[in-house]
C-alpha cells in the first residue's frame, strides 16, 4: 500500500451520471442513448451529462433527436422489445407529459399484456427540481404519477456515488425505469464512486443512524434531511435518515425496520404534498406499525400550487429544512 494513496476525489453528480453511462456502454453494446442535443455536435446535452459519449461510441449509439418526446420514448420502447437497452433522455420532467402514452400504455404494460413474451428494458433519464426560478413548466416533481403505474420502476439518487450505481443498475434492469435527476443538484459534489460500484434497485440506504425519529426521503430531500438532522441534534433529537433511492417499488422492509426502532417518522419530498408518494409511504407505516407509533407519521412536501417563478413566492411554496424541523418538533411534542 502506498502512503501517497489519495482519498477518492469529489465529483459532481452530473459527472457520475456520465461515468455510469460510459461504463454501461462499454460493458454492453446493446446500450444506446437517445435524446435532444445529447451528441457532442449538439453540445453533449444541455446540461452536458452525455458529453464525450458520442465521441467514444459514435452517433449510431448516441443519437441526438428531434424535439419529439413521444417519438424518442417510442423508439426506445421498440428497440427495447428486441434486445436493446436504450437510455432515453427526456430533458425535463415536465416534458414527460408529452410521452405519457408511450410510458404508461406501452413501456409499462407490454411485458404484462404480451404474457411475458416481451420486455421493455428501457431507462428514461429526466431532470427537474425547483429552487432556481425555472417556473411552472420546468421544475415539477411528477414521481407520484409514475410510481402509481404498475410495471414501472422509479429511481431518484441523492449523491454522486448512488447516482452512478443506481443509473448503471437501471440501465441493466429488465424493466422500464424512470430515473429522476435534480437540476440544481447536478453541480453538487460528493465522493467519486469506484468503477465497479453498484447500487441495487429496490434497496434503501441509511446514511445517518438515529434513535428518536426516522426521516424518509429521496433525491433532493436528502440533503435537507441531513441539514435538519444536524440542527435537531443541537436540541438533543437523534434523527435516522432513510434514503429510499428507489421510489417504486420502495424498500418497505428497511423503512419499517427503522420506524419500528424510532417509533416516529416524517416522509419528506419536494413534490407537492397532496397525493404525493409520502401519502403511500405514510399509510404503509400506519398499516404495519400503528400501535407502536408515538404520533401519526408526518409529511413534508411543497405547497398545493404550480411551481412559482418569483424567488419570493417559490421559497414560500417550496419544502424546506425548516418545514422538516417543525414537523419533527410537532411529532415529538
Amino acid at each position: 500500500m502506498s502512503d501517497t494513496a489519495e482519498k477518492p476525489k469529489d465529483i459532481m453528480f452530473a459527472q457520475a451520471l456520465n461515468m455510469a453511462m460510459n461504463k454501461a456502454m462499454a460493458d454492453d453494446p446493446k446500450v444506446i442513448l437517445l435524446g435532444e442535443d445529447i451528441a457532442d455536435k449538439e453540445g453533449g446535452g444541455v446540461f452536458k451529462v452525455t458529453a464525450g459519449l458520442s465521441g467514444t461510441y459514435g452517433t449510431d449509439r448516441v443519437r441526438s433527436t428531434p424535439i419529439s418526446e413521444q417519438a424518442i420514448v417510442g423508439a426506445a420502447v421498440g428497440a427495447a422489445l428486441v434486445g436493446y437497452k436504450p437510455v432515453a433522455e427526456i430533458m425535463l420532467m415536465n416534458f414527460i407529459t408529452l410521452a405519457m402514452d408511450q410510458i404508461v400504455n406501452h413501456a409499462a404494460k407490454l411485458r404484462f399484456m404480451s404474457g411475458g413474451q416481451t420486455s421493455v428494458p428501457l431507462t428514461i433519464r429526466t431532470t427537474t427540481g425547483a429552487g432556481t426560478g425555472l417556473g411552472g413548466q420546468h421544475s415539477d416533481m411528477l414521481e407520484a404519477w409514475l410510481a402509481h403505474v404498475p410495471g414501472l420502476k422509479v429511481v431518484a439518487a441523492s449523491n454522486p456515488q448512488d447516482a452512478y450505481g443506481l443509473l448503471y443498475s437501471s440501465i441493466m434492469d429488465d424493466n422500464p425505469v424512470i430515473f429522476i435527476e435534480n437540476t440544481p443538484g447536478y453541480f453538487v459534489k460528493g465522493p467519486a464512486p469506484a468503477a465497479d460500484h453498484t447500487v441495487p434497485l429496490g434497496k434503501a440506504s441509511i446514511p445517518r443512524e438515529g434513535t428518536d425519529i426516522t426521516l424518509i426521503g429521496y433525491g433532493s430531500a436528502i440533503s435537507r434531511c441531513h441539514a435538519a438532522a444536524d440542527k435537531l441534534a443541537e436540541d438533543g433529537i437523534s434523527c435516522e435518515i432513510v434514503d429510499l433511492r428507489t421510489i417504486a417499488p420502495f424498500d418497505e422492509e428497511t423503512v419499517l425496520k427503522s420506524v419500528a426502532k424510532t417509533k416516529a417518522a416524517v416522509v419528506v419530498h419536494e413534490a407537492v404534498r397532496s397525493f404525493g408518494t409520502g401519502a403511500e409511504i405514510s399509510s404503509r407505516i400506519h398499516e404495519e406499525l400503528f400501535s407502536e407509533l408515538r404520533a401519526p407519521v408526518g409529511r413534508v412536501g411543497s405547497g398545493y400550487a404550480p411551481v412559482p417563478f418569483s424567488p419570493a413566492i417559490e421559497k414560500a411554496w417550496m419544502f424546506s429544512q425548516d418545514d422538516i424541523e417543525r414537523e419533527v418538533h410537532k411529532i415529538l411534542g
Partner: protein, 327 residues
C-alpha cells in the same frame, strides 16, 4: 394511383389464401359473438383482407409487425397460428399472451408480431424503435406498421414519420385508409387531400394505391420492402380500402351513406380476387380446397378457444415486473 401488371399466379394464390382465412375468421367471430359464445368487443376486418394479405406476402416471417386494435387481419396475414390467436381473443390461458392481452394487445414474436396497440397512432413511434434495432443490427429486417386514416391526425404520426425519415429507418408505414375514423368521414377530419400528401410533407417516399387490388397492393408493398432493405428508408403506403361492418361490432354504420356502402360492397375485394384466380386458370376445385382448408383451421381454432381453460386469477401478479409481485 399507380397501375400495375397482374402479380404472379403463385403470389395471388398466396394472397388469396391469407385473405380467405381472414374473411372466414371475421365471419365466424361475428357469428360466435352474435350467438353469445364469445363476449368480446370486436373490431370487424371484413373488407380489408386484401390490403394486408398483399403486404404480408411481400415480407418474411421474421420481419416485424406493429398493428392496432383492428388487427385480426394483420395478425392472421402475418402468420400467427389461428389456435393461439383465437384463444387469446377468448381470454384463454392457451392464447398467444396467456389471455393477458386480449384482442387489442396481441403479441407473437415467433411471427414477428411485436405490438398490437389499442391507442390510435401509438404504434408508429414503436415501429421506429424496431427499425432502429434492425438498422443497428444490420439484420436486414423491415418493420411493417399498420394504422388507419384516423391515426394520421395524432401527433405520434407526425413525430414518428419525421424520425423515421431523418434516420432512414427500414419501416413501411401502411395506412389502411378505410375513409372513416370511428364514425367520422376523413373529409371532415383531415386537412390534406390525401394521407400520401402528409407523408410527402414529412419528406417520406409516399405512394397511394388501391389496397383492394391484390396486384397493385403487392407491387407497392414489394417496392417499399426492397427500398427499406436497401437502406433507403421508410415508405408511407396509403392503401385505399373500406370496412363493411362498422368501427366495432354492433355499430350499424348509420353514418355511412347507403350508396357509398353499396358501392363499396360491389367492389368487395374478395370476390374480385377469387375471380382473378379463376381467370388465371386456377380451377374452382383448387380454390374450394383452399377455402375448405381455411374453414377447417378456423373450426379447429374456435373449438380450441372455447374448450381451453381460463388463466388462473393469480396470473395478475406475473409479468408486471421481471419478478412476481407478492400476493
Amino acid at each position: 394511383m399507380a397501375s400495375t401488371d397482374m402479380a404472379d399466379k403463385d403470389v395471388l394464390v398466396d394472397i388469396f389464401t391469407r385473405a380467405d382465412l381472414i374473411m372466414q375468421s371475421d365471419i365466424k367471430f361475428r357469428q360466435m359473438i352474435g350467438a353469445g359464445q364469445l363476449q368480446i368487443v370486436y373490431y370487424p376486418v371484413r373488407g380489408q383482407e386484401v390490403v394486408t394479405s398483399a403486404m404480408m406476402a411481400a415480407v418474411n416471417q421474421d420481419d416485424y409487425l406493429v398493428t392496432i386494435y383492428r388487427g385480426l387481419h394483420d395478425q392472421l396475414a402475418k402468420g400467427i397460428p389461428s389456435k393461439e390467436l383465437w384463444a387469446e381473443f377468448a381470454g384463454k390461458v392457451t392464447g398467444t399472451c396467456k389471455g393477458k392481452g386480449g384482442p387489442m394487445h396481441i403479441t407473437h414474436p415467433a411471427t414477428g408480431v411485436m405490438v398490437t396497440t389499442g391507442i390510435v397512432g401509438s404504434g408508429i413511434p414503436i415501429a421506429n424503435g424496431l427499425g432502429l434495432a434492425s438498422q443497428l443490427e444490420k439484420d436486414g429486417k423491415v418493420t411493417v406498421c399498420c394504422f388507419g386514416d384516423g391515426a394520421t391526425n395524432i401527433g405520434a404520426f407526425h413525430e414518428g414519420l419525421n424520425m423515421a425519415q431523418i434516420w432512414k429507418l427500414p419501416v413501411i408505414f401502411l395506412c389502411q385508409n378505410n375513409l372513416y375514423g370511428e364514425h367520422t368521414h376523413m373529409r371532415d377530419t383531415t386537412g390534406s387531400a390525401s394521407i400520401k400528401q402528409r407523408g410527402e410533407g414529412l419528406g417520406l417516399r409516399s405512394v397511394q394505391v388501391n389496397g383492394n387490388d391484390a396486384s397493385a397492393m403487392y407491387a407497392a408493398a414489394k417496392e417499399a420492402v426492397e427500398y427499406a432493405r436497401a437502406g433507403n428508408g421508410p415508405t408511407l403506403i396509403e392503401a385505399m380500402t373500406f370496412r363493411f361492418h362498422g368501427h366495432l361490432l354492433g355499430d350499424t354504420s348509420h353514418y355511412i351513406p347507403k350508396e357509398e356502402m353499396e358501392q363499396a360492397k360491389k367492389d368487395d375485394p374478395m370476390p374480385i380476387l377469387r375471380q382473378q384466380l379463376l381467370d388465371l386458370q386456377i380451377s374452382e376445385a383448387d380454390i374450394a380446397a383452399i377455402e375448405a382448408k381455411n374453414a377447417a383451421i378456423i373450426d379447429e381454432a374456435s373449438k380450441f378457444a372455447l374448450d381451453s381453460d381460463y388463466p388462473s386469477g393469480d396470473e395478475y401478479r406475473i409479468d408486471v415486473l421481471d419478478v412476481e409481485i407478492a400476493a
